[in-house]
């Protein structure tokens, strides 16, 4: 395709707009790390001087580490459960004719378009009526609901992207369903599974709304931050904590996208490479 025909010729103003848009997306977020190195209790210009003391202060705080561990536990459990359910769902959606597939897909994707607060209070009401105490387990259930649509959306293109007849060939050659999955399907969709694990972990790690209603006595990291936001004198160390979370999230997500790059966003599907 000629890249400079009369429709696709470069558009300078649009390009400038696009760059400004990216700046608008990033600048507010990047202010957090900027001020986390600022040697002042006040979050304002002009910057005072470079310091690492807010980070140092963070390392001495016991509750931060507890909250971090809670978030990691919930994140790992959520990632494994949501991705597992996502694999079942993605395979069923892509491989089989099912009456009512449309409504089923809509139902599975529902958490994307229903305000989190509704799910949060609904689960809270159910659990309290059943007499289940709030804990990290209840937070995990909430996070699985939030993460499931993302897991499925990450896995679907992977399942669509490889030829189902390979599975049929394996079945014809005498493998049963489990071995076919394990030896044919799983290696093919593995990058998608890895990406889904990383993305759902990140979402769970950062999730706040569900955690707000479903956390018991053990706070997750966002809940801990929320508690500290009431105290302006805590801002600098929260900035340091936020910066580390942002950096980690960026790295994990970038890794996830990169691993699953062939399938992401319905992009061009090249021949599958086994890595």
């Amino acid at each position: 395709m000629s890249e400079k025909n009369y429709i696709n010729r470069p558009n300078r103003p649009l390009q400038i707009y696009a760059i400004l848009f990216l700046i608008f997306l990033y600048v507010p977020v990047l202010f957090l790390p900027l001020f986390s190195f600022n040697d002042s209790i006040y979050v304002r210009f002009p910057l005072q001087g470079f310091t690492l003391k807010w980070y140092g202060e963070l390392f001495e705080r016991e509750p931060v580490w507890n909250a971090l561990m809670n978030s990691v536990k919930v994140g790992i459990a959520t990632a494994i459960c949501a991705t597992g359910l996502g694999v079942f769902a993605a395979k069923a959606i892509t491989r089989y004719r099912m009456p009512g597939k449309g409504p089923i897909v809509g139902f599975v994707m529902l958490p994307l378009v229903v305000p989190g607060i509704i799910f949060g209070v609904a689960l809270l009401v159910l659990l309290s009526q059943m007499g289940v105490p709030l804990s990290l387990y209840t937070v995990t259930i909430g996070h699985m609901i939030v993460c499931l649509p993302f897991a499925i959306a990450t896995l679907l293109p992977r399942f669509e992207g490889f030829d189902g007849s390979i599975e049929e060939a394996s079945a014809d050659l005498g493998e049963n369903a489990w071995w076919t999955f394990w030896r044919v399907t799983f290696p093919m969709v593995f990058p998608g599974i890895l990406a889904s694990l990383l993305l759902t972990f990140t979402i769970s790690f950062d999730e706040f709304i569900m955690a707000f209603f479903l956390t018991g006595t053990e706070p997750t990291l966002p809940m801990y931050i929320w508690g500290q936001l009431r105290f302006p004198q805590e801002f600098p160390s929260i900035l340091a904590l936020s910066s580390m979370i942002i950096a980690t999230s960026f790295v994990i997500v970038f890794l996830g996208q990169w691993i699953n790059r062939d399938a992401a966003f319905g992009g061009p599907k090249k021949g599958e490479k086994t890595k």
């Binding site: 006040y42 959606i93 209070v121 009401v125 049963n176 979402i203 950062d206 992009g267």
Partner: protein
């Protein structure tokens, strides 16, 4: 995208009956593709039923109860709904939520459209890089992005302190923080990824030869955009609008951190009922009302755009 090799081969193979190679229960499952599909998806559906459907039924039930001391009076009554109808506060906050979310949606979609258009039509190499760059901030904690705007818009925040040290203003601009404006700006920023992706996908799908045809038939760039590109991208616009409008209506973090008394939304009220006020049935009622309003508005929006689309195309 819609005709990838896998899907074509799938479509070709589908009509052929599958050989039934095994007997017994697994053979039955093997024979019935439908049953296998349902079996495979049943764990997910079971989980969502336990996690979404049943909680929602209990929520509706609870909205018919009344709070009584530390417990509930479980005689069904519509008293909560009547209270919500009669007390102006609830209606006012609901109206304000819809208003703020509406503005945030319009702002996000209008600002994101040129961005998505640029990547779909004018970026030829590194498309993936652009998409990852645009969606990366979305993957950081929502709470942190809202906190970032508090840092930017605060009384002594980035904008005010920069303007003051530059000598442009003497006192902090108060309309920045603790106002509905701040909520709209923050929501538009925080939800941008939800607009860019559907818009990009719908623009990318447009058959480029239609644009060439429009040009050949004498349309200039502007006419071509409004007669071909924009109508064909409407599914993306609808998806983006709903993906932002619906979740933001129930938001309570942004209003709590940045809204001030004039920027509080219905989500804050629901949260208060489940927290300090401790009137869960009223909170359940407000949550149900919010859901009904959202469903009604989404329905009206989709029907209207469909009618408009049918007229245009």
């Amino acid at each position: 995208m819609s005709d990838s090799p896998a899907q074509i081969s799938e479509a070709v193979e589908r009509p052929e009956p599958k050989p039934a190679s095994r007997g017994g229960f697994s053979g039955l499952l093997q024979r019935s593709e439908v049953a296998r599909g349902y079996t495979l998806i049943s764990p997910t559906l079971l989980f969502l039923t336990l996690g979404i459907v049943i909680p929602f039924i209990i929520l509706v039930t609870m909205s018919l109860w009344t709070a009584q001391g530390f417990g509930f009076d479980m005689t069904p009554t519509t008293a909560n709904y009547e209270a919500a109808w009669n007390q102006p506060l609830y209606g006012a906050l609901l109206g304000r939520s819809l208003w703020i979310s509406g503005w945030a949606t319009v702002a996000t979609v209008v600002l994101s459209y040129p961005m998505a258009y640029y990547v779909a039509f004018h970026v030829h190499r590194n498309k993936m890089l652009w998409i990852v760059l645009m969606t990366l901030p979305f993957w950081t904690s929502y709470l942190l992005r809202v906190f970032a705007w508090k840092v930017v818009l605060g009384y002594e925040g980035v904008i005010n302190s920069a303007l003051m040290s530059a000598g442009l203003i003497r006192a902090p601009l108060e309309f920045l923080l603790y106002s509905p404006n701040a909520v709209v700006i923050t929501l538009a920023h925080a939800w941008a990824a939800f607009a860019i992706l559907p818009l990009y996908v719908s623009l990318e799908k447009i058959d480029r030869s239609l644009l060439e045809a429009a040009t050949d038939l004498g349309d200039g760039p502007v006419a071509r955009f409004f007669r071909v590109t924009f109508p064909l991208s409407l599914p993306g616009v609808i998806a983006a609008s709903l993906l932002i409008f619906i979740p933001t209506t129930g938001d309570y973090i942004t209003p709590a951190l940045l809204g001030g008394p004039d920027g509080l939304m219905i989500g804050n009220l629901i949260q208060l009922q489940f927290g300090p006020v401790n009137n869960w049935p009223m909170g359940a009622t407000l949550a149900i009302i919010l859901m009904l309003c959202i469903a009604a508005i989404a329905g009206i929006f989709m029907v209207t755009t469909k009618i408009v689309k049918d007229r245009i195309l």
